[in-house]
Symmetry: C4
Subunit: 284 residues, 4 copies
């Protein structure tokens, strides 16, 4: 695999004067079961802050009002209302599944994969993927975002799983193996101090971020950022790479302002605008 870490970061196209919100995608985010409503809410808000045009959250009916209460901008739909859910899925140009989804909605992932849209699979979405042995159904427009534990469950191979916590070279190898093993080489983002992004042919190692980001909800934010970038036209590898970079910059800004001890995931969201404003054609 080619190391593209030193190549310029992918860029979002500028916004034409005649743009309307439909030009920046319709994202459907699926998750937020009772007790975890905040997870998908953080993804959704991060997705909006990353430039998506329209964002809808699909959550179980019992938690949808809690999801809704966090932010008036995104819409919600009850997962259990099958027709509403299906309509939302059809209308979406990008899908993200997993944050706070829990273990009771494994039937959704096959529907999402069958829709064949740009898709981010995270957290309980990855666990559903492992439980359902559906790795071969993953397609080329997917981004998988496992941490090493989720990675191990996905590959079901102890020596490979060990590499996911190894040095950079081992982690690059591990990410590449998963990308090639899944259906058609979508991108894999393997979380860690130095996050690796790979799509089977190329890889990059992210340099931004700090250990203050080791706090609950940090990954939910990343999911939303990547989905938002895909909604604006970036491909899986580029969206994952730029997303990891911006997410880390937001973390560095939060740490500078609040300290590594006290910073929490919502601080990352608050810093996303400033992180995007710092984007430059060259990586840093």
């Amino acid at each position: 695999m080619k190391d593209v870490s030193q190549e310029p970061l992918p860029l979002l196209a500028g916004r034409g004067a005649e743009s309307h919100k439909g030009d920046f995608g319709r994202v459907l985010l699926i998750g937020g079961a009772p007790g975890m409503a905040g997870s998908i809410a953080m993804s959704a808000l991060s997705c909006l802050r990353s430039g998506a045009g329209l964002v809808t959250v699909a959550a179980p009916a019992a938690s949808a009002p809690v999801v809704a209460s966090f932010c008036p901008v995104y819409m919600t739909v009850a997962i259990g209302k099958a027709e509403d859910f299906r309509e939302s899925l059809e209308a979406a140009t990008v899908v993200a599944i997993g944050p706070g989804l829990g273990e009771n909605w494994d039937t959704l992932l096959p529907l999402v994969l069958a829709a064949n849209k740009p898709t981010v699979i995270d957290a309980d979405g990855l666990n559903a993927l492992a439980r359902g042995s559906m790795l071969e159904n993953v397609h080329a427009r997917c981004v998988l975002t496992p941490h090493p534990g989720e990675y191990g469950r996905l590959v079901g191979d102890a020596s490979l799983a060990a590499k996911a916590t190894g040095d950079d070279a081992e982690r690059v190898e591990a990410a590449g193996v998963l990308a090639r093993r899944s259906g058609a080489s979508g991108a894999v983002l393997l979380k860690g101090a130095r996050t690796v992004v790979a799509d089977g042919e190329r890889h990059a190692i992210n340099k931004t971020g700090n250990p203050g980001m080791a706090t609950g909800g940090s990954g939910d934010v990343l999911t939303g950022v990547i989905a938002g970038l895909m909604a604006q036209g970036l491909g899986p590898f580029d969206a994952a790479r730029l997303g990891a970079h911006v997410h880390g910059v937001a973390g560095d800004l939060a740490a500078a302002r609040l300290g590594q001890i006290s910073m929490i995931a919502t601080d990352l969201i608050d810093e996303l605008p400033h992180a995007f404003q710092r984007l430059d054609p060259t990586p840093f």
Copy 2:
């Protein structure tokens, strides 16, 4: 139609020392069905931030508590409680209908139109208007705020609809046609990069705003602003024209602070106070 774009912006009267909240109107905003509660909440908050004295949201009973949770200042009433709704409508001096209303409340629009009050019709309110072929029931105190898609559904004429996405002259023509076709020439605000306001006899083209405003909820904010201005005595054309201007300034301030990628609709609301503070008797 006369082009008044270069004429001074309409102004709100100053607030007399003896003012009380009743002097600044009672606005009833109707919308916010389940899953879209935030839409009407953003309209209501924008209406307050635009100077309305008292604001009430009418929403379905299932979503009213979510609407209420976003802001303690406005009141809520359940649409389904027919007598409460009727009382609220009677008490209102201005009505806005549409943001997040959904497709299940088309029976409300005839009641609103029959009340013959200064009224903003937006979003699903416009769709209800189209579905019910009620264009001729629109009266002279109404402001219609379609984007080109909604415009097309309202006029049901492909060549006219095409003009709504054309150049300035075509869009002015399209807005004027709709204003004259509706019952008694209320104002039409046709959304786009350069928003057009027309009432059949005159028109103006708005110059403020930027493509970062192409994001979900931006129109909900505009609806609230226009309703708030009407509550303070501006007529339909003036309220739509000044509303488009202030809305765009708020967007420009948000873009300067947060960037076009990351700005979202609630940022527009946060900037409304600063936008109003910049108002000047001359347009810019």
Copy 3:
């Protein structure tokens, strides 16, 4: 009646090093029926920001969760749970009743008056007082805070009611008449551009504030401030006088920051800390 407008404002005692929260009172605020939950929430938050030690809101069971969702600091109790309500009333050192109470809870006012505690009666509490012809049950520890409309309903006398909207001298007379007519000369705060406070023997006219405060919820904030001051030991007249002053300063700070058009009631709450920090032994 003696005009004490030029005398120094009453002051809160400093907080001793050994203070605990019980030293600053337990306030029970009653109101916030469905659709108006935000009213009592604003009173409660204002009460906390004015220095009260412990604050509880009693609201109907249906709206109590919405009230609770606005702020984690105060507690809530369901009005309808009679024993819980009675316990809360017994535990309180100060009571406020009215903001958003609606018309269905007139039975509460007699209980509150019978408890004979420092009490603020506002809004629907005043309407209940008028409907129940209970003016003679008002006791010397009460503050009534009518606007001219509520005043008229309380006195039931058209010529007196007209004075409530007259010049300063007429308004002072009107306030004094009500203070003397109610049971035992508690204080009356008659709202208006220049708010009058009177207790039958003395009066003061407030000079702070601006017409930007003519916006929904402004009065709810004032109710909370006065209750908070009573919780720290001020008597009815002093609490009403200092409360009107601080409330107006908060309004002036909000207007300076956000403008008279855009300022809303929650901005007043945000400015209360700064208003209290400006307090000085001499009026301004």
Copy 4:
């Protein structure tokens, strides 16, 4: 008992580059009954702001959605779902019980104590301890955080209770007696103007803080801070001592910004990041 007040404050270990959220603990906070949902929410947010990796709140099913609505970062679990609660307790590395727990959940404390994890017992948790005469079940990894009233109920001895409000020497004695009397000398934090921390062998007196902190919810914040510090590896005495210090610094920062009258408990949470940023190896 040795006075260690002049010894350097305990420090949190720095965060290694390879850290992940699991390194900073999983905290389960138990409380927040209906009407008091905000109490445990403030503890949970404070816990996150003090560096805990993952935070879950266990609350009654009726109030869990209100708890959840305050912050999207922590998770919630319904106390009454016995298996879910048991799983959460097993997964936790630190437990805190008490803020807003009410009187109906006394059966939880024995389960918590039997789990033998680092545990903070506060507020209604202390009352449950007193009601159940379970002082001897307290173990060496517990921190008890009584104010003098709760202290009195725990020791059931009037002359000892009187010492809890006495001078520094008496309060140190009182705290030490309770620490030795409980099962195995965990730490006791006795609240007051000068908070005392003791574990039976040593004690320290806190010097930070001010009487503006005598406001509802201040103790809920402290509980969250101590639990968060334990989640990062501090023992009971060190966590209580550092927690009291940081809590007081946050209070001093809030007072400087907002004044002692107006500051409320959520302001303490807002200042926690700045308080942690000021930490220094030497006490001040």
